[in-house]
């Protein structure tokens, strides 16, 4: 299990606990906790509804071309923008802090 902090669109932080053995991604974990993340395309990096910002200093693997292409269709994209569905939970992400981007 790892701990994540997800700051919602109103600025309220939520402490989430996520298993690392289920191949879950951040979008799925947010949905499981009932946070307002649509995940419309189901995790194919094809809708940008799980757009979020990485607030902590975790070394994430760089975004793929598919993810960058999809971020082109998101709004208020920042250098720390990622798609939650492309961030898979693993022990190296313990303590990750993310903020949901405006819709």
């Amino acid at each position: 299990m790892i701990n994540l902090t997800v700051v919602d669109r109103e600025g309220k932080p939520h402490e989430l606990e996520g298993p690392t053995f289920m191949d879950l991604n951040v979008m799925e974990l947010c949905k499981a906790y009932g946070l307002p993340v649509e995940g419309t395309c189901g995790g194919m990096a094809l809708c940008a509804s799980c757009h979020l910002y990485i607030l902590s200093n975790h070394g994430l693997s760089p975004a793929s071309n598919d993810e960058e292409n999809m971020l082109d269709q998101a709004f208020f994209v920042q250098p720390n923008s990622r798609l939650g569905c492309q961030i898979h939970l693993h022990t190296g992400l313990d303590g990750l802090v993310v903020q949901l981007a405006k819709e």
Binding site: L46, N65, N69, D72, F75
Partner: protein, 334 residues
């Protein structure tokens, strides 16, 4: 006016397969979809993605599944109203439903099936303050009539094919075209990217990369956009039109105002036959919700099948249903 047995709202895989199951029970169907082509998400979001969980088909591309479904339902000769959004639902005196689209096409049937998936696809609107107040007053989400932009200043935002294609097209018509994109790489077709670069070098298109439009200027009518550019900060560009082209995203739309029980953007149904709280209206596929719901194409197919058995009683109140296997009857079209 189009009269049929079942009006199907949504021409995605679930809606298409409904035609087949209804056809086996000799019920005619008419499909309505806001997209210009059938297939729903499979056509719009992921036509080239492989699907592995259609029973009996180890792997199929989403676009091919749509083509196969269209072929499968051909014997039942369904009607299509495409490129039109379902707007109004009314109950007629004879208890049938009247469904009217945004373009005024009227459909009448005793049964309405909502197979609307994620909702209808609409242009993704940038969350820029007060953008609503500038809609049709300088902000356009789709290009309907290019002539409108003749000898006007136009700012286009986006990095995909539609942004590139319109930038190229309008560069011949408009006084000036500014294309704004959040990074330097474009995801559009290589030919279009090359053409945009060429036009940019020749001055036909002014390319502003690593930038986004973050504000709108004007008093009632748009006269400028606020651009935020990396390493340069914010600056204002005068313009007559701002065309943000960020693809389509699904919205529940007017269906949400029909008095159906809705939970988290999905329509609550009874799993006995996928009926909604309004008699005669069913909801199947990704748009419905019930305990244990899974948003899977194969579940949509199952829901369509059971729903048709129930709809039969509404379409044919005086007839008894006789269940037959296709191995026995084949596919008797009409």
């Amino acid at each position: 006016m189009i009269e049929t047995d079942i009006i199907i709202i949504g021409a995605g895989p679930t809606g298409l397969f409904t035609v087949f199951e209804a056809g086996l029970l000799k019920m005619r169907c008419h499909l309505i979809d806001s997209l210009a082509v059938p297939g729903g998400q499979l056509a719009e979001i992921y036509p080239k993605k492989p699907i592995y969980d259609i029973p009996g088909i180890p792997m199929i591309l989403a676009g091919d599944l749509v083509q196969n479904l269209l072929k499968q339902i051909e014997p039942f000769n369904p009607g299509f109203t495409l490129g039109e959004r379902t707007e109004i639902l009314e109950r007629l005196e004879d208890n049938r439903f009247k469904v009217t689209t945004n373009k005024g096409t009227v459909h009448v049937a005793p049964v309405v099936v909502i197979a609307g998936g994620l909702g209808c696809f609409e242009p993704r609107k940038p969350p820029i303050d007060h953008i609503d107040t500038f809609e049709d007053k300088g902000v356009d989400y789709i290009v309907k009539d290019p002539e409108k932009y003749r000898r006007k200043k136009v700012v286009i935002a986006g990095g995909g094919d539609s942004a590139l294609d319109w930038a190229i097209f309008l560069s011949d018509i408009a006084e000036e075209v500014v294309l704004i994109h959040r990074r330097t790489e474009f995801r559009g077709a290589p030919d279009s990217v090359e053409k945009v670069m060429e036009l940019s070098n020749q001055g036909g298109i002014q390319l502003v990369t690593n930038a986004q439009v973050v504000g709108l200027k004007g008093n009632g009518q748009l006269d400028g956009v606020l651009i935020q550019e990396d390493h340069k900060g914010e600056w204002v560009r005068e313009t007559d039109y701002f065309i943000p082209l960020f693809g389509l995203s699904p919205k529940l739309g007017p269906i949400g105002e029909w008095g159906l029980n809705i939970e988290h953007n999905a329509i609550e149904v009874d799993t006995f036959d996928y009926r909604t709280n309004i008699p005669g209206i069913y909801a199947i596929g990704d748009i419905n919700t019930y305990p244990g719901k899974l948003k899977l194409i194969l579940c949509g197919f199952h829901e369509a099948t059971l729903m048709c058995q129930s709809a039969f009683k509404l379409v044919n109140p005086d007839k008894k249903i006789s269940f037959k296997y296709t191995t026995v009857t084949g596919v008797p079209g009409f």
